[in-house]
Symmetry: C2
Subunit: 499 residues, 2 copies
């Protein structure tokens, strides 16, 4: 008897977020939606994460319009989003009624599956959003951020799964953003959750491919009973992205497991994105091969490039390896948080400061807040001396309550502020945009009428062939190239060749 494994396609959200800095324009996704809708996926992840931010910051695109378009173009599919619990899609904690409102509006505009996580794995930061989702009747998926540390163990994650089940959810996601989930822990973790929370607990496994081992981990997770796994169509896969959907399909024959995906549709989707991906070469991740050093540093790919650019700005580009060695020390001091937005940025920036200025000589405001409990409870103990230093620097006391409990109702004020902005259309959706991105929203509201920008470029108009195309690598220019050059009012033919 063969068991069907369900699949979530990531190309429309985490795929381009991981590989192309979340820059893909809606226009470049529309033409392939019908094939995606018909391919037999359990769900299509297409919203949330960094896409909201990217839409208003870079693409002049209304994220709510994007969601409604997906809803229209994917009528047979569950739409799925990634939601940062009490942070929603922003970078601070929101008061509960704002969380409720965001979830209601997302459901109303077409969202079906809400994957809710907290960067510290603090279940208190996930609960309210889960409850809001359940009130809408949509699918509430509670998330464990997987990481490794001297503290973390399979048992600890199974405990967390149990808490999440008690909090009330429709499925449990194991989210392995840094590709640290090895095959045996994948097996043990899925098995452990099924044993502790019941065999009918739906387990959904999300892994990245950075370290090269996680397709094996998916195989083991499936053997242990995983119900749904996340993959990305091959032409939008690998590197800091995800395992190829087609490889998942093709590894299963004979194993007693199968997907219900349509290979012809997959082929079309693959071909389509093979044409789109090179258009975003300038935003492409540098890391294209396999990187197993992450097992030692636990640093996800996106975080390394962030740190690199911070170091470059300080004229210290050569100190990346010191910073990578510093990250585990900062993590330990902070109670071993998983590294995922925003904890990855907080820990990464502090590690950069430690290397440049000396260990914890200067604390960022965010790191101080993390030490003081303002992001929530960490799973490990935090360094008491650093808590003291943080308190002194930030002139705040440490807290142990749920951070959002300290917030006063804020919706009315957010609404008043938003409505004062030129171009704000007065909807709750616009208020939410302002609430999450108060600095970016004003410009976006003004510019919105100009319509979306597509930052993709045809490979011909780029000065070099794309380095990221799955099928079309670059060819070297070996001969001279001719240009017409104007000097004053005379045109000269000039040829330039490699030295």
């Amino acid at each position: 008897m063969t068991r069907t494994v369900e699949v979530t396609e990531l190309a429309l959200r985490d795929g381009h977020q991981s590989l192309l800095a979340t820059r893909m324009a809606m226009e470049d996704m529309v033409p392939i939606c019908e094939d995606i809708d018909q391919a037999g996926y359990w769900s299509v992840e297409c919203w949330g994460g960094a896409t909201y931010d990217s839409c208003i910051r870079f693409l002049n695109e209304d994220p709510w319009e994007r969601l409604r378009t997906f809803r229209k173009l994917l009528p047979n599919s569950r739409l799925q989003m990634l939601l940062r619990g009490q942070n929603l899609l922003g970078y601070r904690h929101y008061e509960d009624t704002v969380v409720d409102r965001f979830v209601e509006k997302s459901a109303e505009n077409g969202m079906d599956v809400f994957r809710v996580f907290d960067a510290l794995n603090d279940v208190r930061n996930i609960k309210r959003a889960l409850e809001a989702v359940r009130r809408t009747g949509k699918h509430a998926e509670a998330t464990i951020c997987y990481t490794t540390s001297p503290l973390h163990s399979v048992d600890m994650f199974v405990d967390m799964a149990e808490q999440l089940c008690e909090a009330g959810c429709d499925s449990i996601c194991i989210k392995d953003m840094a590709a640290l989930l090895r095959p045996q822990p994948a097996y043990d973790l899925v098995k452990g959750i099924k044993q502790r929370c019941g065999e009918d607990t739906v387990v959904h496994v999300h892994v990245h491919s950075t370290t090269g081992v996680t397709l094996v981990s998916l195989m083991k997770a499936i053997e242990a009973g995983a119900d749904i796994v996340d993959t990305c169509i091959s032409s939008m896969s690998l590197g800091p992205g995800h395992n190829p959907t087609e490889a998942l399909v093709e590894m299963l024959p004979g194993t007693g497991y199968e997907t219900r995906l349509d290979k012809d549709r997959l082929r079309k989707i693959k071909k389509y994105f093979a044409g789109i991906r090179p258009r975003y070469a300038e935003f492409a991740s540098n890391i294209l091969g396999v990187e197993t050093d992450i097992f030692d540093s636990q640093i996800p790919g996106g975080m390394i490039s962030n740190m690199e650019s911070q170091l470059k700005q300080q004229g210290a580009a050569d100190r990346v390896e010191e910073v990578m060695a510093e990250v585990p020390r900062v993590r330990e001091a902070a109670g071993f948080p998983p590294l995922v937005t925003p904890s990855s940025q907080i820990v990464g920036t502090q590690a950069v400061l430690n290397v440049l200025m000396g260990p914890f000589k200067v604390l960022t405001a965010e790191f101080a807040d993390l030490m003081l409990g303002y992001y929530g409870e960490t799973q490990g103990d935090r360094d008491p001396k650093l808590i003291e230093a943080a308190s002194k620097q930030a002139k705040k006391e440490p807290i142990t309550c749920r951070p959002a409990d300290m917030l006063k109702p804020e919706w009315d004020q957010l609404r008043t502020n938003a409505l004062e902005l030129e171009g704000c259309n007065g909807t709750d959706e616009d208020v939410l945009t302002y609430a999450m991105f108060p600095k970016v929203a004003p410009k976006f509201f003004v510019d919105r009428a100009n319509g979306p920008k597509n930052l993709g470029k045809s490979p011909e108009s780029q000065t070099e062939p794309s380095a990221v195309s799955a099928s079309g690598g670059g060819k070297s220019i070996t001969g001279p190239i001719s240009y017409k050059v104007k000097l004053g009012n005379r045109t000269h033919s000039v040829s330039v060749e490699p030295a």
Copy 2:
């Protein structure tokens, strides 16, 4: 109890053969040999396959000198080579004493492990080389070329393994050159061989990574008892190459299996080749992502690029897909040969002709020979009508004997011919070079004294960043670039920017 899985490192042979058209110069391998020698590999594949041909054809390098250098620089390692059975490293069958001589000379110059295969899986074509290896006291590894077809089954391959064991060998290799070996068949095949031939039969698994599923297959092969697996250091891995060595190491913790590789050495080897690989960007494979269409066409990556260039020469570059659809039909007519040198070239070229001229209107001389049995026995029946047509065209009768049985002793004649060539040094090694590459050897003998050519180029001297670097993808030029241009005797500053 944890079982140790042994590893063969492929970077020095199949790695650069698969990814960089076999162009890596010895000079670029020498500096890293010490780390490779100390890393804990079971063997280091570094010779044979296409390297011999490439050495004399492109690199002006004496392949025997390369072998002796490896022997000196890898004193603690088993050196391993790939040998095409009765074809040696050439493209025709050789008379038995030439085979014996080649094996003796290879052993004498330092070779330890001889992986012997036949493109048709005709055991008669492997036997003589195996016997020659065993006479030298070196390791004789007999090879099954893995493929899929309506004919092939796990049982059929296990039968072949049994014949190979009877023929006498020190290990059995499962060679999956097209990345068609899925996880479950990998498990079943290793298990089947161990059951049929004895648990102490050493099974060595060689897979490519093209389809993205074969690291999972290695996991399953290991679970079934595989003793040795082939991988390639991460910075020389993936695409039509192999699974990353570090990913193999990192997938095992907790599974009850481990390697004995030194991770610090692996890190050095990885870094080293990350610097070397971009130097060969102009020879780099186009296929860098995962390609699962191969499961339908069974066409290995290298074969696709061959067919593409043949079609291009005929002005029919747009007919690649027709040719890919034709390949399985040609394979069927020819008794379902595995596709590996030389059968891949023979089948591929015939498929191109079929598309351009009509099915089997014209047969290549090689395809005719294949149909008539001059390459050996195929595992499936060949089309009788095509045998007849081939016989008529080639004016030869079909044969059923071992092809080499038709050859008369040829060593003396080869020696006489070689010694007449300018620059031939009179050694048996030079005679063998001439024997295998009679058209290339004369020029090589003349040019040899000029010393090896290194075709690698520093990335700066290439006009674009490499598209293949595992760690350093290209960055688009977005702003204008300034050149100093001389026109007559005046120097102008010119800036050029993308249109």
